[in-house]
């Protein structure tokens, strides 16, 4: 390992600009002549629009234009799309209603986009927006699944009778029912997977700009996947063909899924820039973000686990209701289906699994992928079930897990996935040692002596990442391929630019990707730059989500580097006057086998461009290669997290005393960055378990629309984390990488709840486990030394 190569904890290259305030985020961009957009949003969860009177707004000083759904329809701008087709049990397609960027006749959630006011200043736009008079006919609202599915519930979309989007299933129902019929013990749980607001610290923003000279658009936007944004804006929404639309996602301040999607505001900004003849800028404020960024989770699940002889799990059955909100966001339908049910086998050898998922429209913000997307929901189901089952069977929860671990690979689950590599026992063992599980009894006794309750909870998670083989996801309904692209441009002096379709919004690609190149080409890491986030520079890409940039994005770079090496060897053969088959390349040097003839990488790069040593007919000058990498399988990061909590039953405030995480991410490029991803993921998972919940009242008003009410985890809510790794290389990509971005958020919630319920001695608590809920649950629970 070199100081900057694969496996080295290299300090991040991008940090100089961030720590000096020189990052360049979308809101930092001002274009000449720019105007400002402010959206008129629905104050009602459900209403017909009888009319919109913009005259007073248009008369307000500085207001340039007020645009509504009629304008967007007149321009034949298409609606926003959901890019994953799900089919009902009977084979019919899901029932999706239209999703216009500006409301056409009806609004369906608080914050829905009614009109946009464009003005000389942001203040004037906002002042103008207040003067747009909208005549609403308020309709009854259905703010949650229970209300939406009731007979006589308000009809949100004509296309979806009874607000049912789809009823979908996966697995063998008959085999699963049979397993339950012969089970020795059945564990049952009712689970609410609480609704979350993603909250990247940078709110979304967009600047749309139209150039009359070239009849082309540029959209600067806070996107995790600018090429997908361009594809959707071109092919489906019809803003402009791809060669006339440039999408730039510069520094982006976190995404966690919420910046994957193609939203109304960005669409309107780019469309409106031609209409008003000015660049149009919109920056979301935090309250708008709470109202309109796609939320996450929001499942209600009935889950059952069947246990046979020898404490072996023989079946798992779930019925999940998923709230998809008022419209189907870009990948909404995939989250409670193919990103969820295929993970229900967890780390366990379960012969029969059946999942039924019903998805519903409600008068709430759209729900889509949020860090983990489906996999945290699945993991919560599985890890709560096994924990509770172990307790009911009076077994040590770790031993119960051990008894059911998958131990041979490859392992085909009954729900699509073929696990390729792993060693779950190794992670569990290491986690128990690092955590000092043996010392828990003494710690519990010490807590009890202070009148406090203490509990320990496990979570042995698995996830499917690196999303993923295009043909496979295509067969499951995905509207796009999920490969990744890379281009390696070697400059004449031997420096290198990597153009990648992955997008970094905190993940540190400028460092990690450069480590791979430095390692492979034997050149200093400072000689490598990573170019991403601009459709005019990078030809095509699928972006960053699903922990895929290492496994898929870097594999594409690796494949392109193979081509670079092959071509460079041809050049080296001419330069060193040797046969191509005798050229060897190592540590940045080309040598001729059995001789002392050598040339460094820079010399060969220069010669590739000077092209004096070979004829252009036999070898093309230049050194630039590109590659598309389409994986053969998902990747399967897995690990064990252990959470230990302590709380005073007098107030119910849960303090996390210690946290141990042992993850198997396959091969690690930069441990500093990987550990950082684990830390952040855990914090978001703890947020879900203890603090966060997006709450609507019955009328569909969002109660938690600011940090005054939506509880974000802060530094004093969290412990330092004890993070370790085990490694089983991933066999399906050349680097052996599995992915690490979502693991913490997937692992953490059940670990926390298992710890709290361990302390309580009963299972009756839901997320977020707020102080009041814990206080209520702890009534009558007496702090005792370790049970038995």
């Amino acid at each position: 390992m070199t100081a900057t190569g694969i496996g080295a904890p290299v300090r991040r290259k991008e940090d100089f600009r961030f720590v000096t305030g020189r990052g360049r985020y979308v809101d930092d961009i001002n274009r000449p002549g720019q105007a400002y957009a402010f959206f008129v949003r629905s104050p009602h969860a459900h209403a017909n629009i009888r009319g919109i009177d913009a005259s007073a707004a248009l008369a307000h000083p500085g207001v340039l234009s007020v645009l509504t759904g009629d304008d967007i329809a007149a321009d034949k701008v298409g609606g926003l799309i959901c890019g994953w087709a799900i089919f009902n049990k009977d084979g019919s397609p899901m029932r999706a209603g239209p999703h216009p960027a500006l409301a056409q006749g009806k609004v369906r959630y608080v914050g829905d986009h009614v009109a946009v006011v464009i003005a000389e200043t942001l203040a004037a736009a906002r002042d103008g927006a207040e003067k747009v008079a909208v005549d609403y006919e308020v309709l009854p609202a259905a703010a949650d699944i229970a209300a939406a599915r009731k007979s006589g519930a308000p009809q949100i979309h004509e296309a979806a009778p009874n607000n049912a989007v789809f009823d979908w299933h996966l697995g063998d129902k008959a085999a699963t029912d049979a397993a339950f019929a012969r089970a020795r013990h059945v564990t049952k749980l009712e689970i609410v997977n609480n609704r979350l607001a993603p909250n990247p610290m940078e709110p979304r923003a967009a600047v749309g700009e139209y150039d009359f000279g070239s009849d082309s658009f540029t959209l600067y936007t806070t996107s995790q996947n600018p090429h997908v944004a361009r594809l959707v804006l071109s092919a489906f929404i019809g803003i402009a063909p791809e060669h006339k639309l440039r999408v730039v996602a510069p520094d982006v301040g976190g995404g966690f899924g919420s910046k994957i999607f193609i939203y109304a505001e960005e669409t309107v900004c780019v469309w409106a820039s031609r209409k008003v003849g000015r660049p149009v800028k919109w920056t979301c404020d935090r309250t708008e973000a709470f109202l309109c960024d796609a939320h996450g989770r929001d499942h209600v699940t009935h889950a059952e686990l069947a246990i046979g002889d020898n404490n072996r799990i023989i079946g798992l059955r779930v019925h999940t209701d998923a709230n998809l909100g008022a419209y189907l966001s870009t990948f909404a339908s995939s989250v409670p289906t193919y990103l969820y049910a295929p993970l229900l086998s967890g780390q366990y050898d379960i012969p029969a699994i059946y999942a039924q998922v019903d998805a519903w429209y409600t008068n709430t913000a759209p729900v889509d992928a949020y860090r983990g997307a489906g996999r945290p929901e699945a993991t919560f189901v599985v890890e709560r079930l096994v924990e509770v089952a172990a307790r009911e069977l009076r077994m040590d929860p770790a031993e119960f897990r051990r008894a059911n671990f998958v131990r041979t690979f490859p392992h085909q689950t009954p729900v699509i996935m073929a696990y390729d590599a792993g060693d779950y026992e190794a992670s569990l063992k290491k986690a128990q040692e690092m955590h000092d599980v043996k010392g828990f009894g003494a710690r519990k006794a010490a807590s009890a002596a202070k009148g406090k309750l203490r509990g320990l909870g496990y979570s042995a998670y698995i996830e499917a990442c690196g999303i993923a083989p295009s043909a496979a996801v295509g067969s499951l309904g995905a509207g796009v391929g999920l490969w990744e692209s890379a281009e390696v441009r070697v400059n004449p002096i031997g420096t290198v630019e990597i153009l990648t379709g992955s997008h970094s919004h905190g993940q540190g690609h400028e460092t990690t990707f450069a480590q791979l190149v430095s390692d492979r080409l034997g050149i200093p890491i400072d000689n490598v730059s990573i170019v991403h986030g601009d459709t005019d520079k990078v030809q095509m890409g699928m972006g960053t989500y699903g922990s895929r940039s290492g496994a898929v994005g870097m594999s594409a770079i690796y494949k392109a580097l193979d081509k670079i090496e092959a071509k460079a060897k041809k050049v080296a053969a001419h330069v060193l006057e040797a046969s191509e088959t005798d050229i060897e390349f190592k540590d940045g040097k080309f040598t001729v086998k059995g001789t002392d003839k050598a040339a460094d990488f820079g010399t060969i790069a220069l010669n590739a461009y000077i092209a004096h040593k070979f004829s252009g007919q036999e070898l093309e000058p230049g050194l630039k290669e590109s590659a598309f990498w389409d994986p053969t399988n998902f990747t399967f990061p897995a690990g064990v997290h252990i959470c230990e909590v302590e709380f005073d039953p007098a107030d119910g405030v849960v303090r996390i005393d210690r946290w141990t995480a042992v993850d198997d991410f396959g091969k690690v490029i930069n441990p500093l960055i990987v550990e950082g991803q684990v830390h952040g993921g855990i914090a978001q998972g703890v947020g879900q378990a203890l603090y966060e919940g997006a709450v609507y009242d019955e009328a569909g008003q969002l109660v938690t629309a600011s940090y005054m009410d939506y509880c974000m985890p802060r530094a004093d809510n969290l412990p330092s984390y004890n993070v370790g790794m085990t490694v089983t290389p991933c066999p399906s990509n050349p680097l052996g990488i599995k992915g690490c971005g979502e693991a913490g958020a997937i692992a953490a919630p059940p670990a926390v709840i298992n710890a709290i319920t361990d302390a309580l001695g009963h299972e009756n608590i839901s997320m977020p486990a707020t102080p009041e809920k814990v206080w209520r649950a702890a009534q009558g629970v007496v702090p005792r030394q370790a049970a038995e």
Binding site: D127, D651, V695, T704, M708, D709, C711, M712, T770, W775
Partner: protein, 260 residues
């Protein structure tokens, strides 16, 4: 924010004279967020930030005088405060976060009388006197309900006078906003035992007379064992029901005595 005009006052007299239909701007830590959300819309602001005579802490006989524009950080770190009214400096150090404490002022807090603010509990428990440009108001008469005070239009708080006594205060912060969900201030002083509760009362800060009666006989945490406030009249929201808040009042009262 809506448009407004701004006057940087140079003295109390100048501030009061310049007010008209406007509002005083102290540290702005509540007023400005409210205006940003367009929930408040004063057309004119009189900025007190440069009024030197409103700044500072001093001892005057039996009382500690905290002038209205004294920032929370100044109270939190004042040796004089810690000596004259021990516990008040700790309370000031629990308000908001460090950056908020660097701007927020006692006068602004008291004038706004947010039902979840900390200072009202201290004022009421200590039976402070709110001094304005025109009169002196006992804390007993000053706090009149949610965001409501005895201040008249155009009246400006110039100082708060605290009788010297030890202040016991414990706070249960709202998990999201970090404002007090329950804050209990307890003082045993010249006026006997006074227990003031902020954060939870449906009408704002209030005296908890049942606890006062118990503490009169035995000024200790033990005297309050098992006690909780009456849930009727308590605020209730997603962070805590009236019942939970009523329970926490007892917990925080005991902690105030056992931990401070």
């Amino acid at each position: 924010m809506y448009e407004f005009t701004h006057h940087a006052a140079t003295s109390v007299a100048d501030a009061v004279g310049a007010l008209g239909e406007g509002k005083f701007l102290a540290g702005g830590q509540t007023l400005l967020p409210t205006m940003k959300q367009r929930l408040a819309m004063p057309g004119h602001l009189v900025d007190l930030g440069k009024v030197a005579e409103l700044r500072g802490v001093e001892e005057k006989g039996d009382v500690l005088v905290v002038k209205a524009m004294t920032r929370h950080v100044e109270v939190a770190t004042s040796a004089l405060v810690a000596r004259a009214v021990p516990g008040l400096e700790k309370l000031a150090g629990m308000i908001g976060d460090p950056a908020v404490r660097n701007r927020g002022t006692i006068g602004g807090s008291i004038a706004n009388n947010d039902p979840t603010a900390d200072y009202p509990a201290a004022c009421l428990a200590l039976k402070a006197t709110i001094v304005t440009n025109t009169r002196r108001i006992s804390a007993d008469d000053y706090f009149t309900g949610l965001f409501s005070t005895a201040l008249e239009d155009g009246e400006l708080i110039t100082a708060v006078e605290f009788p010297k006594a030890k202040l016991h205060y414990a706070k249960f912060p709202n998990p999201a906003s970090r404002y007090a969900m329950v804050g209990v201030a307890i003082v045993k002083g010249a006026d006997g035992v006074r227990v003031a509760v902020t954060g939870s009362g449906g009408d704002g800060v209030f005296r908890w007379s049942e606890a006062e009666a118990k503490l009169k006989a035995d000024f200790s945490a033990g005297a309050l064992e098992g006690m909780k406030a009456d849930a009727a009249g308590m605020m209730s929201d997603i962070h805590g029901s009236a019942e939970y808040r009523a329970h926490l009042v007892g917990v925080m009262a005991r902690r105030a005595l056992s931990e401070s």
